[in-house]
């Protein structure tokens, strides 16, 4: 039997939405208060959904200790209490939550081998959330 397992994680980070390809005026029009040059922060909630056959021996899709360990080492250690604009993946990309969602999906997809990654969903605030399930995702 195949099941989907989802785990939630929290981290806090700052960012500023600003594109070097736009003028100051265009940036202000596009990003509004998110363009504040001093940046601002969020408590991000990340949901990681993996799937697979429920193992007969353990009753699990994958051991949560493995998923928690991977996300802690590769995601939370990387992003928690950081300024996203200063990270390598956002040197040429605006750290919108769309792009953050894709970046986290790619890290998990590349490195986590114990279950199939279905999607990454991020709540930037209680009022907005973003999902990425890969290029061919639903």
């Amino acid at each position: 039997m195949k099941a989907h397992l989802t785990r939630r994680y929290l981290f806090s980070a700052s960012h500023r939405l600003h594109s070097d390809k736009m003028s100051e005026e265009e940036n202000r029009l596009t990003y509004g208060k998110c363009n504040n040059p001093y940046g601002h922060g969020h408590n991000y909630m990340v949901e990681v959904t993996v799937s697979g056959r429920v193992d007969d021996q353990t009753g699990m899709v994958c051991n949560l200790v493995d998923l928690d360990g991977f996300v802690h080492d590769e995601i939370l250690e990387r992003y928690d209490h950081q300024n996203l604009n200063l990270l390598q993946e956002f040197a040429k990309q605006v750290p919108t939550t769309e792009n953050l969602c894709i970046a986290i999906y790619e890290i998990v997809k590349r490195g986590f081998r114990k279950a199939h990654l279905e999607k990454v969903r991020i709540e930037e605030t209680m009022m907005n959330s973003f999902e990425y399930a890969g290029e061919n995702g639903r």
Binding site: K2, A3, H4, L5, G59
Partner: protein
């Protein structure tokens, strides 16, 4: 096609243990969930059904029927129970959230005659949930 979800809550205790494993293996794989005295959770169950909206009633499903089936088949059997000792499915299967979602699906699928079951979601805690879509 419209999807309708109904929520319910139940509280139960369980522990994880595989009799085929040595005590050391059980401890290594299941960690603190292996405590034989059990521990408990407040589970949240979401049952999603799908179907066309009936032109006469405006319903995908009669909510009362869904609520009654969920109450009879799931909540009466699981709420305030020790899953390993009191629920037949878990005499042979480990009561992980994965197996709980599958067991709840199997309890509901045959009883929900007037609608089609789409998804069973079980939250063990607000930070952990399992979805089962009836896939083999």
């Amino acid at each position: 096609m419209v999807y309708l979800t109904r929520k319910a809550e139940f509280s139960a205790s369980h522990y994880y243990h595989n009799p085929d494993f040595t005590p050391e293996e059980n401890q290594r794989v299941f960690g603190k969930c292996n405590n034989p005295n059990g521990h408990g959770h407040n589970y949240t169950l979401e049952v999603t059904v799908k179907g066309a909206v009936d032109p006469t009633s405006g319903f995908v499903v009669d909510l009362k029927q869904l609520k009654d089936v969920m109450g009879r088949e799931v909540l009466d059997a699981l709420d305030h129970r020790f899953l390993n000792k009191e629920v037949p499915e878990f005499c042979t299967k480990i009561p992980t959230t994965e197996n709980l979602a599958i067991a709840i699906w199997q309890r509901l699928a045959s009883k929900l005659t007037a609608t089609e079951l789409h998804r069973v979601r079980v939250y063990e805690t607000p930070d952990l949930f399992v979805d089962f879509y009836g896939e083999a």
